[in-house]
Amino acid sequence: MIGLTHYLLLGTVVFCIGLFGVLSKRNAIAVLMSVELMLNAVNINFVAINKFITPNDVTGQLFSIFVIVVAAAEVAVGLALIISIYRHRKSVDLNDFNLLKW
């Protein structure tokens, strides 16, 4: 009864929640957490398509591991950047991050 369509719809819902968070939050850490949700949605799609369309292969799982690696690197650098900016501006509000704006 539950098929590939339902997994892809679950991925779509989680991706859209994450996208809304990225576009509408004002705390930089909240934006990073929403990006993590979007990456997780992509991983659900990778693993589900691998399971249902090429079940005798593991290429989808392999690429989801690459996505996890890139997400870990991204969150480490992103949080370090936020801490570094916080030290200078005393704020994590994205509206205060206007150092390059004139």
């Binding site: 779509t12 705390n27 659900i44 690696v69 650098v77 801490i83 916080y86």
Partner: protein, 172 residues
């Protein structure tokens, strides 16, 4: 149309994920958002186990629910000097908020409709017995360049994160 145990597990996990993901975006306290995010990660790991991708599920629990969530909670504690109440609000710019809602809604409708009406070439099969062994063969065979590049990326990202967070010394 019979409902199997597998279907019930999927429905339960999907409910956990969607409720937790909504909590990440909607909760007003950023610590609550981070805890909700951990719940969403564990739910996604459950989906992987249910899709018989046990190795990915374990990696998800170790990397996401273990490492990344600890990193996020530490960063929250490092940058919060005042009260933690009302630290995760929506943008005060109402136009940006409405544009975000509209864009998200349009994307959801587009993707949802196209997924719902697509006939996927589903192949019914049991799947490989030794999935981890096949993954290892691919990592050290066809995808070895990408594997090594990912390793270098992680090294560079960790060094960069240390330098950014600690602050480089000025030698002259």
């Amino acid at each position: 149309m019979t409902v199997s145990l597998n279907d019930l597990v999927f429905v339960a996990m999907a409910l956990v994920i969607v409720v937790a993901a909504t909590g990440v975006v909607m909760l007003k306290n950023i610590v609550h958002s981070a805890l909700s995010l951990i719940l969403a990660f564990v739910g996604v790991a459950g989906i992987y186990f249910q899709l018989s991708a046990g190795f990915i599920g374990l990696v998800q629990i170790m990397v996401y629910a273990g490492a990344i969530s600890v990193l996020i909670i530490f960063a929250i504690m490092l940058v919060m000097d005042k009260s933690v109440e009302k630290t995760n609000l929506f943008s005060p710019n109402i136009i940006r908020l409405l544009a975000g809602m509209g864009l998200t809604f349009l994307l959801f409708v587009t993707l949802g409709v196209s997924i719902w009406f697509t006939k996927f070439p589903v192949v019914p099969a049991e799947g490989p017995v030794d999935a981890v062994g096949m993954l290892a063969n691919l990592f050290m065979g066809d995808y070895v360049i990408a594997f090594e590049t990912a390793a270098i990326l992680l090294l560079v990202a960790v060094i960069g994160a240390i330098i950014l967070a600690k602050g480089a010394e000025d030698k002259q």
